[in-house]
Symmetry: C2
Subunit: 189 residues, 2 copies
DNA sequence: ACCCAACTGGGACAAACTGCCACACCCACC
DNA sequence: GGTGGGTGTGGCAGTTTGTCCCAGTTGGGT
């Protein structure tokens, strides 16, 4: 596919930058916004837009509310939503509002591009490819939860329904910690 | 609301009967089908249809493939999908195909009626805020994987990256858990 | 400075769980 | 009959988890 103009809206700035770079490396032009306001401003300045990747959780804003504005400006734009932990109802709502796909983090750049291109009416092709191992699933969920609680181990453990001590031990056992950011949002690919 | 004509497609016959009765008690007329073929036959015989409740997992058939036929016959019909273990991709696919909502079992009749009436584009209703307990996540993943392998424990265990013996033990220990009371729909074998 | 509350890191130990090997059945198939 | 998946169970030894407990750190308040 040729170079495409993408809009990435993600409030976590380092992650946004990293994702943008990764998408650019794969031959796309990427415009970044960190909140709804910026996103709307970017929209006004663009002449063309092939795809929009919206984080659902944008601080005070909700990525879902950006779907309509994007499609208003660029009806042919492919919009996908990204979210920390997806809920089915949110996925349904997003789709009703015109989103093409709905991803849960961690989503690698490859996942994102796939989601932009995949036929959303066909549930067999998309992402759930092979079932991740239990361990991996757990690990990702742990990271996500930890993230949702601002890295607070005690609260995360509580939310996960496991003992704090256990969470500590598990965290120590995996690599990460420092490159936890990268590990968290990007699977090896 | 006045009496509505509903179509219920669910391959588990006892469950279908039960659900149908419950829906009728709430003032609806319910037509039941247990597979895609029957459903299509029912469609041809109906003059009117307000809502369709489709189980996604219909033995060899996929409930998703019934959405279009239903809407073809009755464009105004509200279609919702029901599934044992919902995946977000499936929810997206269903919505793209015209479904109004997507529920995971166990869904009470009240849930179903709510899903038929709710405005799916409204983000206010989401936020079931699944406070994802690690155990629950694991359990769902296990069930999904097991399902994907046609209930084959050995292969599922392999796919999950755990020992068959361990999977067996977990399955046995789980029939009903404190944080889950849906075993009725779980282990219908 | 002082205290308190909230977190994190870790030690110790029993209880629970897991991986692994073994063995007995089933059932379908050649 | 024999053979090859698959499933249920039992029995360990090794690992992980739940708990209790204590020490160090940090960020307010007062």
């Amino acid at each position: 596919m040729s170079e495409r103009q993408l809009l990435l809206v993600e409030d976590d700035e380092p992650l946004a930058k990293q994702t943008a770079r990764a998408l650019e490396l794969r031959g796309n032009r990427v415009t970044v916004a960190h909140n709804a306001e910026q996103a709307l401003a970017q929209l006004a300045g663009l002449q063309h837009l092939d795809g929009a990747i919206l984080d659902q959780n944008l601080g005070n804003d909700n990525g879902l509310d950006l779907i309509e504005p994007v499609l208003e400006h660029f009806p042919a734009c492919r919009v996908i939503l990204l979210t920390g932990y997806g809920s089915i109802t949110a996925a349904v709502a997003a789709t009703h509002r015109g989103a093409r796909n709905y991803l849960t983090k961690p989503a690698s750049p490859a996942d994102i591009l796939l989601a932009l291109d995949a036929d959303p009416t066909n549930p067999t092709l998309p992402l759930p490819a092979t079932p991740p191992s239990l361990q991996r699933l757990e690990w990702e969920h742990i990271q996500r939860t930890l993230d949702a609680h601002d890295g607070n181990i005690s609260r995360a453990a509580d939310a996960l329904g496991i003992h704090r001590r256990t969470l500590q031990r598990r965290l120590k056992k995996r690599p990460s910690a420092s490159d936890y950011q990268r590990d968290k949002h990007f699977r090896e690919d």
